[in-house]
């Protein structure tokens, strides 16, 4: 639910999935397959610090999650 802050972050993105909320709908895996992977239909693996250039893809995953389990921001600029 966290929207990316607008300043152009040089650092990696920070992604957090609330795994208690996650219902394994796998919508994030279709939206950003390099960064989210569902193993055995149940356990979600994800990349907590994708590179800054992947923002659009990560945003898609955030939007697509039916239970809004994913949040992300641009990480620290420093």
């Amino acid at each position: 639910m966290t929207e990316p802050r607008k300043e152009p972050g040089a650092g990696p993105l920070r992604v957090v999935v609330d795994l208690n909320r996650c219902q394994g709908y796998a919508q994030c895996c279709y939206a950003a397959p390099e960064h989210f992977e569902l193993r055995g239909h149940e356990v979600l693996f994800y990349d907590p610090t994708p590179p800054a250039g992947k923002q659009a893809e990560i945003a898609r995953a955030v939007q697509a999650c039916p239970v809004r389990a994913i949040s992300f921001d641009m990480g620290s600029v420093s």
């Binding site: 639910m1 919508q27 279709y30 397959p33 239909h41 939007q63 697509a64 039916p66 809004r68």
Partner: protein
Amino acid sequence: MPHDTLFAEVTDPANRANPYPLYARLREKPVSRQSDGSYVVSTHAAIRSLIFDPRLSSEDLPPSQRPPTGNPFKDWIVNPIKNRVVNAHRPLIFRDPPDHDTLRGIVIEQFTIPRVRGVHREVEGIVGDLIDKVRGRSEICLVEDFSYPLPVMVICRLLGVPEEDEEQFQKWATVLATALEPDSRGDEKQRHATATAFDAISDYMRGLIREKRKNPADDMLSGLANPESGKPAMGDVDLIASAILLLVAGHETTVNLITNGMLTLIRHPQELERLREDPERAPRLIEELLRYEPPVHFRTRKALGDIDIAGITIPAGASIVLLFAAGNRDPARFTDPDRFDPDREDNQHFGFGGGLHYCLGAPLARIETEIALNALVRRLVAPRLLEDPPPYRPGASLRGPEKLGIGIERIA
């Protein structure tokens, strides 16, 4: 108007263009008993709690024990043409665990990420061709010229239906479109037409499966027909039912989303302009469409036991209506719910349902709609509605315009 006849008003085609005020009244009671004995669930919180509740069943009685409903998808057993015993023809959308989960798992295996994402270029090609076809015209019908043909072509390519048969598929899809409409009745003639189409498409699928066993290709039907050893597989009857379900469930729904999308964008010209300038707005805008004008307004379930919720008891055996489109406009969950706002945060809508039966085709529908809307706003120059509101099809659940006349300056 008494509260317990509100849902009858919802199903009345006279209210199709704007059912939302009725939904607002229904939400005054999160769960309300209607005069026909059904229970309508209309707030976001109540839908959310029930959609995960295992006491809600999607399954009907076995087909042979069921009184005819007039809905051929369910009445296969009383098929007036051949009456063949297809008690087993039970698509997974009308089934409960454990069978539902087994079948869904097998079908999902075929929705591989490369396959679904790989459809991108194919969809762009189809979309481009469809728009090219209306070049030179100053008026189009978005449904007929664009939204209607697209989803069938896409699912045919994914399933592995040969291109030369797509036209025939298009015709079957049109006849079968009402199959998932809970309140579809139809006269004898329509039932006959639907049953004929079901027979024809089943025979066709049977043949195609045989073909895919002889010459497997990289498509979903080949995958389903030739399971890897050791993996769960389904029998041919379930396979045919699943293939037909993919066609039917993904058809009118996607048509509606694309059509509602353009209708909503033309009604909100600023948003149309913003999307034209920034195609990356599409994913959020589509989620907002799924909330604001969802293609599926409600689904029905049966109570397997007494269910206490929101101060009343839904008795075992009662029919339950999950009114997704009302939950989507619940002011207790969404700020300013009647406003179309693609920048909305925390947009947890029921556009694709939720729980066990959450739309299996959602990733595909999102891709199709994104490419379609982006191409339409880019290429239809100065679009305006010829009629607002447009005429709607009679269905109250799969609700969408029957036609959408759009006047344009030209095609870019």
